[in-house]
């Protein structure tokens, strides 16, 4: 199990009569991109919530490396090295890109109850943030307020924010959503380079990107993982074709 950076064990979550997560077990290994796909309403958001910390599972465990994080807050998980991006961009719009990225660096270094030294000239914050931006090829936009960025650039900033945490694992929630073919291709390229350093759990609708990027794919339908395997296996899987691709002649 030391091979897994992130592992979910037998997660269950029920909302009233709806079994949103039904005995889901997943893991994410070093050096890989593991994609989680599924049709709308399959329970992906609920599952992400349980990994990220805004939803508590009814049963089951979540581990980051060897630490159990099931009961931890969002912020605690982040400090332990779980970086995430959101389906809908969630940056602080009026602030510069840099200020958004610096927050993670700040959280990693110590508590935030430091009242005196200005952040604007603090190289201990600026340098790592700048590095994270360079990895996303965005350092030229460091001082631009987020609201001036294009949609694709925001996606990159989100990933840079996660990278600032020096994460052990990345949880990316539909990073390609709303990107044109060009933006999508660029992000695909960046993620491919990234996975060697940080394994990525990728939730994505863009099948082309998934099949290109993912080393392994899990398919979630009605709260359960119905199939698991590499791209080829998933493409061939009759259950997947029926349930997910709506392919009735399978």
């Amino acid at each position: 199990m030391s091979d897994s950076v992130l592992s979910l064990q037998n997660l269950h979550k029920r909302f009233g009569a709806l079994q949103a997560t039904n005995d889901v077990s997943l893991d994410l290994k070093r050096g890989e991109i593991h994609a989680l796909i599924g049709p709308n309403g399959a329970g992906k958001s609920t599952l992400i919530g349980q990994i990220a910390g805004n939803i508590r599972p009814d049963e089951g465990h979540v581990y980051l490396a060897d630490t159990e994080i099931t009961g931890m807050s969002i912020a605690q998980r982040a400090r332990l090295g779980l970086g995430r991006s959101f389906q809908v961009s969630s940056l602080a719009e009026p602030l510069s890109v840099m200020r958004n990225v610096m927050m993670g660096v700040q959280a990693l270094q110590s508590h935030s109850f430091r009242f005196w030294r200005p952040v604007a000239s603090d190289q201990r914050l600026l340098e790592p943030a700048y590095e994270a931006l360079e990895r996303m090829q965005l350092s030229h936009r460091a001082w631009t307020p987020v609201f001036e960025l294009s949609h694709g650039e925001r996606r990159q900033v989100e990933v840079a924010c996660a990278l600032a945490l020096k994460p052990r694992a990345l949880l990316l929630d539909e990073p390609m959503a709303g990107l044109g073919p060009e933006g999508s291709a660029k992000l695909t390229e960046l993620l491919e380079a990234l996975k060697l350093e940080v394994p990525i759990l990728l939730i994505e609708h863009d099948m082309e990107a998934v099949f290109r990027l993912a080393d392994r794919i899990s398919v979630l339908v009605s709260g359960s993982v119905i199939a698991h395997g590499d791209s080829e296996a998933i493409k061939q899987d009759p259950l997947v074709r029926e349930a997910y691709l709506g392919d009735s002649d399978a």
């Binding site: 912020a75 602030l95 200020r99 190289q123 700048y130």
Partner: protein, 369 residues
């Protein structure tokens, strides 16, 4: 690699495309790098000028008035200064922290009552309490300040701990309710005057300084205001300020970045209350009187009005708002007893049509710390 990275993380709109283009694409350039051009922003000069003018006039006019023998105006300036200081405290919560507290009168009033009760016992030579420890009254300004700030911080810790579990309208209402609780308590507790209030027969003193002199007292208040503004300014540039700003703009982002928003907000709320409480202690001393009226929800509302009139989340906003408010109260109030009708109209106009307040109007709209 030791990169020198441009040293201003504050989001600023570069004035021109050339300024943006001059920023390094990669930081290997080594040198000091091109800082974003916000210092060159034309607003900066105007803003700085307005700020210096406000503070300068507030300092110089009372001094002049004193030497021409108009003590009334010196005390008026003290009043403006103290109200501004209370609003600086509230602005930290509302403007910088996004916590719409409708109950800051509680801290202003508690600060006032600390001064009043302390003076009451010092005058009487009776102890405030004897058990478990003996606490005598005091007429030392420093002791009273410390006590006022600490007690307000404690009260805000308790109130904030509960209130910050809620958001939106619930937060507004619960802070109001807690303040009302204290208001009614002061109103019906007979020991310190109840609804009649508590007169203060001796003004708190400082070593070597005659605090009963109107100008001296004004200067003390002015010092307090400048300190409060300096603390706020410094605070908001620090790591704590960065976290608080993020908590206001997007608390999910803050948590995702690894910082829990709740304690950050709570600490800001406590500091905000302590500043407002200090102002309350000064106010009680200025008037020689403290009564439940400073605890009323009307006063909480007025403090909010001042913050908004001045320009919410701007360092000099509370000062500009306090000047306008007290001036309207004094001069308009001198003309008509219905001056609050006009205050209402002005406020309505500002809220509906001039969202950035006086400072936005005087110094240009820019609010980005």
């Amino acid at each position: 690699m030791t990169n020198n990275i441009p040293t201003s993380a504050v989001s600023s709109k570069p004035t021109s495309n050339s300024a943006r283009a001059s920023m390094p694409k990669h930081s290997h350039s080594g040198g000091s790098g091109a800082a974003p051009a916000n210092q060159a922003d034309s607003h900066f000069g105007r803003k700085g000028l307005v700020q210096i003018a406000l503070l300068g006039l507030l300092l110089l006019l009372p001094v002049a008035a004193y030497f021409f023998g108009h003590l009334y105006y010196v005390n008026l300036a003290s009043r403006i200064t103290i109200i501004a200081m209370a609003a600086v405290g509230l602005n930290l919560a509302i403007g910088y922290g996004g916590m719409v507290s409708f109950g800051h009168a509680a801290y202003f009033g508690l600060g006032g009552y600390v001064a009043g009760i302390s003076a009451y016992h010092a005058f009487d030579f009776t102890p405030f309490m004897t058990w478990p420890i003996s606490i005598p009254g005091s007429d030392s300004l420093l002791v009273v300040w410390l006590a006022a700030a600490l007690l307000c911080a404690l009260l805000a810790l308790a109130i904030g701990a509960i209130s910050l579990r809620t958001t939106g309208v619930y937060f507004i209402m619960i802070t109001l309710a807690f303040a009302q609780m204290i208001y009614y308590f002061a109103n019906s507790w007979p020991t310190y005057g109840g609804e009649d209030g508590l007169p203060i027969y001796i003004r708190n003193s400082l070593p070597l300084v005659d605090t009963t002199n109107a100008l001296t007292y004004f200067l003390i208040c002015f010092g307090g205001l400048v300190m409060a503004m300096a603390v706020t300014s410094r605070l908001m540039k620090s790591r704590f300020g960065a976290a608080l700003t993020m908590a206001r703009l997007n608390d999910v982002r803050l948590a995702t970045a690894g910082v829990s928003p709740y304690p950050v907000r709570l600490v800001a709320f406590v500091i905000s209350a302590a500043i407002t409480g200090l102002a309350g202690a000064l106010y009680a001393d200025l008037n020689g009187f403290v009564s439940p009226s400073v605890l009323s929800w009307h006063f909480s509302g007025e403090l909010m009005v001042i913050v908004i009139l001045g320009g919410v989340g701007r360092l000099y906003g509370p000062l500009a708002g306090a000047i306008l408010f007290v001036m309207m109260e004094t001069f308009l109030g001198g003309i008509t007893q219905y001056w609050q009708l006009f205050l209402g109209l002005v406020l309505l106009g500002v809220v509906l049509f001039a969202k950035h307040g006086i400072m936005g109007w005087l110094a240009g709209r820019e609010r980005n710390e």
